[in-house]
Each structure stands twice: as structure tokens, then as C-alpha cells.
Symmetry: C2
Subunit: 483 residues, 2 copies
């Protein structure tokens, strides 16, 4: 009998299990068309379940036209077990375009050595989940639900959740940015913000100036759109001004892409005076700046540095991308573009053509979380936590790693340039065998023949014990490579 | 005194209000650099608030370097009120590309007559929010939170939330689709799914065959990528086979894009036999089909029609896009691509380069909602509700609207072709003045000189009373236009 091999589990509604079981039977050919099913009473007795569950399942199947009940006679299967199929196979590899292949080729999740369970991983720059103030977030989620309810479930607005937009306006004002003639578009994190900007404002072959090294995701997106990327050297104060001026003058760049507040991967914070000089140069050549506000909140130093966007006054030369969620809840995928209002009007239509709008549940929960003050408490709390970790990492590096320099002063990662041109991928291969993994530096360079002797150490989610152990292992392997 | 004009409100944490007030004062020039602030005790007394709130605000500002406390002396403003600014203005209109302009031009939210409060709107095809079983959803949201907690807040996977992917695999199996060598990618609804597919698999100038008329968002996206769109006529059974064959043979199309289960806007359901013929033609010319599963769940008819993907067996010729959320919670923006596993591998990297991943909070809540059986209950419930509305709409149309034909048999909208070539935009202008709005049909045609005498009536969110009133108004205006 068809039900004799069914075991009911507790995790799923019973009627759904019954329904699936019958469908499986039909598809496997155990139940032929026109064959009779046991009565709901028999099934409930056999499986020791409520008869209502069985009735629900039968009704459901009947409403889908899969079984038919003839009153007083019984219930019968009304469809054939196997669908007629006519296969055909398409060669999609010949149809995929350059854009898709570039994103696949540069997908570091797929191309770099993977983390394996039990390893000490310095690869990620994600925050430590244990620090999330979950009760605060749960409260915000419930606040969002109680205030908005069904509004969160029907279509929202491409621009974003209005209270959150207003919150971000205040946030920009707090950073002494002028908001006249500006507008905000909420996006699925930095990545979508950057994709929308690059996808809307560039053509293949356009030149973009950026820092050397720079954010791997930004490099990937720019390459996927066929842009020409020119990276400008940095010192510990920021971009090299002479090189910047030369390239602005000679290369007719479409944009600059800058991460002045905490360069990824180096962690270099561009100093106030240097920001002004950089800004003035871009202005001189009327080249707009895409400013990535990455990590502004996490700097350990107590002197706040205002974004480059604050220098722009009522002008529109800076497009600012913000994403608080990166240091808070990266899984929420909330970012924003702050820019000229006429530009945002167009980018809003682009956003609508790409994803319609970002999750209103996420946006609303995040808004109530920010509004409650929980975000500020969280940042204060984690700043100290990560500062302690940073100090430990630096102690260990000074002890075990012969470096040319180390940069980074207030985030979840630091960047190391090794002495004697040691190849960091060779080092990684050795460390990987010993259960330690980190991010090789070349992925942050447009031309991956650069940065071969550099690597990034992310420490946000590494225990103190593993930091000590892991960096010693890196040091031991460096010795094997002849340092 | 700086605090004399501050009024504390109840909605926001008090210390944040204090903090903002001081920042405002600095930015407006009311608080100069080095000026002394009142003591925390004074402020708490003046405003009648807890001293701790004031201390928190001061500490916060101090940690940001905005004020400095000198022990025993007082607290002082440590920054200048106005940032030096050097404006510059960029002409972004000259920098935006064709892609962005096309999406702006075809953004019907911006280009079509807007809904105004108090109007009777047949424009939207959104579901009625009052039918959402909110308690079920809240329970699912809490289930998601309780089972996953911080997992939902740190980075997730580009492919999607594993339990939801598995659920959708079962869903496809239930529809008698074979899942061997197939994989699933979760997206932000249909729109992102289609954007990823078109963005990855086409080049400007490629030919796409689709139904005439067809989904406006799909048309918009295809146009934004510079594709050549050929629309094939339909009758009430589905696509015209002769025309399809001719175009498959002569035009070297890259894809077909089809909505066989409920064409938007016409609501035509392609019949089983016609599906087979259509499928066989695409197979004959080895052209893959992008199948939009729109509205499968909502059909009033009890005989289920299997998706075209079920005909494909172990072949890979059909790329299926699903999105249950459209009839359920459109705001959740959850859809999926079901296709050849090697293709999904690449599209996963594309997704990572566009939005990293979709909201895990949404995905997880939706999963628990589906798993609980609440979705099936909901669909059963709303199917009856919308069927009744549909019947009312059809009665009214038969009474008041002289049509050549009406199509649609089980969704949230129907489609009307008027008699005597009446221009539906002229009709809309008249109705708009009388407080009634609907969607003109030309937006569903590649060439907007077609469908001029058609329009779509969405009724999901219109009360019975307004249906009666609204359709009568349309009828009255038709008389004015000389029918």
C-alpha cells in the first residue's frame, strides 16, 4: 500500500507530507492513472494521524486536478505518472558574454583557496557575530513589524524606506555634508550602489582613477564593465598628489573612485590636508569623485575626519556611497548613494529596472535599530574590542613577521608588505597546509603582477588564541621561504 | 543659552536629540569653537531629563572629537562651525549612458499618470494587503529569527538560503520538472532574475522572441540592453505557431521569453497542447526559452498546467524564473532562477557582482512561512476572493464596456480590446478627470504604436463598490468618445 513506507516527521505540516508522498508515488509510477487511493479514514488510522490532515491533503490535490473524488465510490489518481519529455541541450558557454565571464573569473569566492572547517582564517573582514546586540535587533524587528505590518509586504518604493532615507540625510549632515539639491537612493549594500553608478555612467574604455591597492569588489565591477583602471600610489597620508595630477591631466578620466576613510585593503586613512588637495585636483579637471565611506565609524582615533563630500558644499562633484551595515550586520545588505538630486532621479529608475527595491523588512528593522541609539552603543562597544585585537595582532606581527611595512589603524584588518620580495601566494600555500589562511594582496591590484609580496590579515572573527597561533605559523613558514 | 530652544520628543533616544542639537548649533554658528557648554547637571535640570542622557550625549560627542572636557574647568566645543567648501558642479546628463536613459525613459512609474489619493485605481496588479495572513507571517519571522539569529545578520551566500533553495527544488519537482543537472539561484524577485539572465547572456542587437503583448518590465530591461525584440501574435490558446516558426527560422533569435501560465497583461493561459508545439519549435531551432512562471498559483481553473520546463526532461533548454512572492508578498522581493547547473554557477558569480546576495531575513522568514503550510492556505483563500472580484469585473464590463474581446481567466487583472479603435489614452485622460485610472495597453508592446485601443484593468486592491462605480465611469466616458 502506498502509505506503508511513509514516515511522518515533526518538522513539516503533516498534510504537506501526505500530499508530497502521493505526488512522489505518481511520479515514480507506483500510482498509475485511475488507481484508487485508500480512504482518508484508512490513512489516518494507518499513520496514526488526524483525519483532518489527510482530508486537507486530498482536497489540496483535488484542487490541483491531480486526484478526483467520486462520491460514494472513492478517490482516484487522475493524471499520468510520467510527463512526456523531449529533451534538448543548449551550449550556454557559447552564449555567455564577456561581462558574465569576467565576473566569474574574478569571483574570489570561487577562485581563491577556500576556508575549511577548523582552519585559522585571516581571510575574512566580516565582523564578529557574537558582538551583535541581538536583543536590540530583535526589538527593532518587532518595532518595524508593529509599526508597518502589511506595508512591509506589499510593493515599496525604489528610492527606499522614507524614514531611513531621512535618517541618512541627518547622518550626512552630522558629517558636515551639505544636503541642498542632493538626494538619497537606498541600495543593496555598497555592491549594488557601485554597480548602479558604474553601469549608468560609464562606457567600455572609460578611464577610472583609483587608489593602489583598492577594494577588490570595485575592481571586479569596473573590469566587468570594460573600464580602464589606473591605480595611483599611496603613502601613509593618502594618494600621491603628483601622480594624481599627471593622470587627471593626461588620461581624461571619467571618475575617481576613492576610499579615503579606510582604504581596503591597506587601512590607510587619508589625512585631512591631503583630502583637500586631492579634492582640489579633481575639481581643477572637473572630474567627479565616487567616495566610498567604508569603515568611517570604526576608526580608533578620536579625531573624526569628514568625508570628501563635505568639501563640496552645494556643488555636486562628489557621489558618496555609504554602508553602515558593513561593520554592523553585513547580511542586511543596506547601503545608500548620496548625490546630485537630478542624478539620483535617473539612478532611481535604474534601481527599479534592476531589483525594483531593496527589502523593506530589512530597511525598516535597520531604521528602528539606528533610531533607538543601539547602533551608537554597538559601535562604541566593538571599537574597543577590535582595538584590543588590533594591538594583539600588531604585537604578534612585530614578533614573527619580517615586514617592509604594515598599514591599518582602526578596522577589522591590516595589510602587510613583506621584506625581500617574498611571494605571498607561496607563503599562503605553505600556511594552508598548516591550517592557516589569509588574503593574498595581488587581488587588490588592477594588474595582478603587482602586490605579490603583500597580504591582508582580517582579524574580526579570529580568537586571541588563534591570532597568536596563526601569526606564529605564518612566521615559521616565512623562515622556510628564506627570510 | 543653547538648550533653551530644544524641545525633547518622545520618539527618539534623548541623548541622540541632545547630540544633534549641539551639532546643529555648531553648524549654524551658534556655538563657536572653544565656547563653553553648560554642565551636564545644568542641562538635565533645564530640560527636566535624566543627567545620564546628557552625559551619554557629551561622551559621544567627545569620542567623535567634537567637544573636549577639561576636568574641573568645563566642556568646550573643539571644532569650527563651518567647513571650508570649494564647490564644483559636474554635468552628469552628459555622462549618463544609453542604458540609464532607457531605463529612465521607460520607467512607467515616472512617465505614466500617477495615482492620486481618493482615486479608483485599476492601475496596479498588486495583491490586496488586507488578505495577508499577518499572524502567520509574524510567526514565520520569529521562527526565522529564533532558528538563525546572528546567521541572518552576517554575510550569507550568493546562491541563497539553503533551506529555501531546497524548498524550491521540491516545488519544481511537484510541478513535474526534472531537477537532474539543474541548480537554483535566489534573486531579488523576477526583475533581478531577468536582469541577470539578459545581462549575462546577450549582446546589443541580439534578437529575442516574445509574446505580443508582454510584461512591461521585461520589455524595458530588454530595451535597456539594446536587444531587438520581436513580438509574436497570440490567440486564446497561446502563441501563433506559424509566426513563431517563421521567426525562429529567419531571425536567429538568442532566446524566447514566454509567460505561458498567465501572460501579463492579457491573462492568456497557453494551453497544454500549444505548449508542446511551442516547445518543439524552439527545440527544433535549438533556441533556449526563458519561462516566466508568473501567476501559476492563482489560476482559478482546477486543472493544473505544468510549466514548459517540465517538457525538458534532463535537457537544459528551458531557464525557468519563479516568484511566488508576487501574488503573496511582493515587498519581499524573492524569486529564483532554475536552470542548467553550469549556467547557474556563472550566474551566481554575476549575482555576487551585483548585489552579493538577497536579504537572508526575507529568505528565511519566507521559508518558514512556506514550510508551515501557510502559503497553501493563503492561496486557497485568495483564489476564491479574487475569483469573486473577477466575476464582478466581468459583469460590469459586459454591462458598460463595448469591447472587441476581453482576456484573462484567473489572476489580478484582465485585458480589454475596445471596439472601433477607440484610443485608450484618450479614454484614460477623460477617466482621470473623473478620478479613475487604469493602465493603457501600448506599454506592453515593443512598438508603442500598437495596442492603442487596449488597456489593462487590475482589480486586486479595488473594493466591490469601486469596481462597480469605476467601470461605469469608464463606460460613460466611452460614450463621450462616440462608441
Amino acid at each position: 500500500m502506498i502509505f506503508s513506507n511513509l514516515e511522518i516527521n515533526k518538522d513539516e505540516a503533516i498534510y504537506l507530507q501526505i500530499e508530497k508522498h502521493i505526488l512522489d508515488g505518481i511520479n515514480k509510477g507506483e500510482l498509475k492513472k485511475n488507481s484508487k487511493l485508500p480512504s482518508t479514514r484508512e490513512v489516518s488510522k494507518l499513520l496514526n494521524i488526524s483525519r483532518n490532515s489527510v482530508i486537507s491533503a486530498y482536497e489540496e490535490l483535488e484542487s490541483k486536478g491531480i486526484i478526483t473524488t467520486k462520491r460514494g465510490i472513492g478517490t482516484f489518481v487522475s493524471i499520468e505518472g510520467e510527463t512526456e519529455s523531449y529533451e534538448y541541450t543548449v551550449d550556454f558557454t557559447s552564449k555567455l558574454n564577456e561581462y558574465a565571464y569576467t565576473l566569474r573569473k574574478l569571483d574570489i569566492i570561487k577562485s581563491e583557496l577556500p576556508y575549511k572547517k577548523g582552519m585559522i582564517s585571516f581571510k575574512s573582514i566580516s565582523p564578529e557575530s557574537d558582538l551583535f546586540n541581538l536583543d536590540d535587533f530583535k526589538r527593532s524587528l518587532l518595532d518595524a513589524w508593529n509599526f508597518e505590518e502589511s506595508n512591509l509586504l506589499n510593493y515599496g518604493y525604489a528610492k527606499g524606506y522614507k524614514p531611513l532615507i531621512d535618517y541618512f540625510f541627518d547622518y550626512m549632515k552630522d558629517k558636515r555634508v551639505k544636503v541642498n539639491n542632493k538626494d538619497i537612493l537606498i541600495t543593496n549594500g555598497f555592491t549594488e550602489a557601485f554597480d548602479i553608478i558604474i553601469g549608468s555612467l560609464t562606457k567600455p574604455g572609460d578611464v577610472i582613477l583609483c587608489e593602489k591597492p583598492t577594494h577588490n569588489t570595485a575592481l571586479k565591477i569596473m573590469k566587468s564593465y570594460g573600464l580602464k583602471i589606473i591605480q595611483i600610489d599611496m603613502d601613509k597620508e593618502g594618494l600621491n598628489l603628483e601622480q594624481l595630477n599627471k593622470n587627471l591631466r593626461d588620461c581624461v578620466p571619467k571618475f575617481g573612485y576613492l576610499i579615503p576613510s579606510y582604504n581596503n585593503p591597506t587601512g590607510i586613512v587619508t589625512k585631512t590636508e591631503r583630502r583637500k588637495e586631492i579634492y582640489k585636483l579633481f575639481r581643477k579637471y572637473s572630474v567627479p569623485i565616487i567616495e566610498d565611506g567604508f569603515n568611517e565609524e570604526l576608526l580608533y582615533s578620536s579625531s573624526p575626519i569628514e568625508p570628501i563630500a563635505s568639501l563640496c558644499g552645494d556643488g555636486n562633484g562628489v557621489i558618496y556611497i555609504g554602508s553602515l551595515s558593513k561593520i554592523l550586520f553585513p547580511g542586511l545588505r543596506i547601503g545608500w548613494i548620496f548625490a546630485d538630486e537630478k542624478l539620483i532621479d535617473i539612478l532611481e529608475s535604474v534601481k527599479r529596472g534592476k531589483t525594483i527595491h531593496s527589502s523593506f523588512l530589512d530597511q525598516s528593522a535597520f531604521y528602528y535599530y539606528l533610531k533607538s541609539g543601539a547602533f551608537n552603543r554597538y559601535v562604541k562597544n566593538v571599537r574597543k574590542y577590535y582595538r584590543d585585537k588590533y594591538n594583539l595582532v600588531m604585537n604578534m606581527i612585530n614578533k614573527y613577521i619580517p615586514y617592509e611595512y604594515v598599514t591599518g589603524e582602526g578596522g577589522l584588518h591590516i595589510f602587510i608588505k613583506l621584506k625581500n620580495n617574498i611571494n605571498s601566494r607561496k607563503l599562503l600555500d605553505l600556511c594552508y597546509n598548516d591550517g592557516v589562511i589569509f588574503m593574498p594582496g595581488d587581488i587588490f591590484y588592477e594588474d595582478q603582477n603587482h602586490g605579490l609580496d603583500t597580504f591582508r590579515i582580517g582579524f574580526g572573527r579570529v580568537s586571541d588564541e588563534d591570532i597568536v597561533k596563526g601569526i606564529k605559523i605564518i612566521g615559521d613558514n616565512l623562515k622556510l621561504l628564506g627570510t
